[in-house]
Symmetry: C2
């Protein structure tokens, strides 16, 4: 892979992939950057540029081969693999997340296989059929059976401490449900899925509706 691929490009690839799987399911053989772009509200030029990071697909004027491009994106994005995850936090949010295992996560290759909590009243319970383990055992568990993806569904007050524990235990991808923006060393990726953080990026546009130059 000769070029450094910006995160913003990687962030768009799953959208292209979803669009392509729909086209493939509909029996479409080739698709133009314009057709992909229309459905996703991205310019054709942007799509061609994004996909060019991953080598040459398709020929000028003929469009992209749907099958080959889908397979290629699936492999690049790791969607053809099975990803095991640990969940930290066995409270209400944790239970909602664990309940996504069957209908949402597993069909897409993700699976919460261990749940941790440090609250003695929760340790030993089950969450969607998974035993809640003591967070104190995570280091030992990870040495025996490493898992790279963690979902953080604790209170914000302990978020950074738990992230430090997770990173020491070898986790390198974290899905953060708390409202705390946590710090991680280079190589550890964090995604925030907190509604408050997301809402706080929406109000700028609402608070500044008369700005005629505002970007979408």
């Amino acid at each position: 892979m000769p070029l450094k691929i910006p995160d913003v490009v990687i962030g768009r690839l799953p959208n292209y992939y979803r669009q392509l799987t729909e086209l493939r399911a509909a029996g479409v053989n080739t698709v133009s950057s314009q057709e992909i772009g229309e459905a996703l509200d991205v310019t054709p030029a942007q799509i061609r540029k994004d996909l060019s990071y991953f080598g040459r697909f398709g020929k000028q004027g003929r469009g992209y081969p749907v099958d080959r491009l889908t397979d290629e994106l699936e492999s690049i994005l790791g969607f053809n693999r099975h990803w095991r995850m640990v969940l930290v936090g066995g409270g209400g949010v944790g239970r909602t997340i664990a309940s996504l295992n069957d209908g949402s996560f597993r069909p897409s290759g993700f699976d919460v296989v261990r749940v941790y909590d440090s609250d003695p009243s929760r340790v030993g319970n089950t969450v969607n059929g998974i035993d809640v383990r003591d967070l104190a055992s995570i280091d030992a568990d990870m040495r025996e059976d490493p898992i790279e993806i963690a979902i953080l569904a604790t209170s914000g007050a302990v978020a950074q401490d738990i992230v430090d524990v997770l990173v020491r235990a070898g986790v390198c991808s974290i899905l953060n449900y708390t409202s705390v923006v946590v710090q991680t060393p280079p190589g550890v990726e964090v995604r925030h899925v907190n509604p408050l953080l997301a809402l706080q990026t929406l109000t700028y546009h609402l608070a500044n509706p008369t700005d005629p130059l505002a970007t979408r």
Copy 2:
């Protein structure tokens, strides 16, 4: 506001704001771009550039005045206002979202005030003390009492249809909990807070760990 402000800059402002409120609470009067940057893993140059969109704060070599910068960001971001929201979807995810009203949303100026569902078995129930209304009444309700922010917590299958309804009813900011990337007309902002979408942007890094040029 003379310059077009990129969404990526607006996305970083809440982080600066949170950092500044902590400094203000700790009694700090001035702060350098370097100090803000260290805590947030952003370069000082980036911070100076981001803040320069909003006019001149502070003097060369003296740092930013914490109080004034915090107030300014609060006003720019609309955090000094009260934002009412509608929630569509009174199922499990909807109930979890509504339960955020007391501890998370309201202290930050957000408030779910109406809940809608189209399932007759849910209409008439209450969710965190809020009556679940029939989605069919949303147009009339919005004419009488307009609300600009909606949270979408339905199944993905109906997501786009409901977004179309919301947009027609005057909603211009949508927090989307479904795994469907919905389309909206210009001027309507959408944020996705779906764990699967977020996970799918993490696996690229896990699937390509040996790429020495990969960006963080």
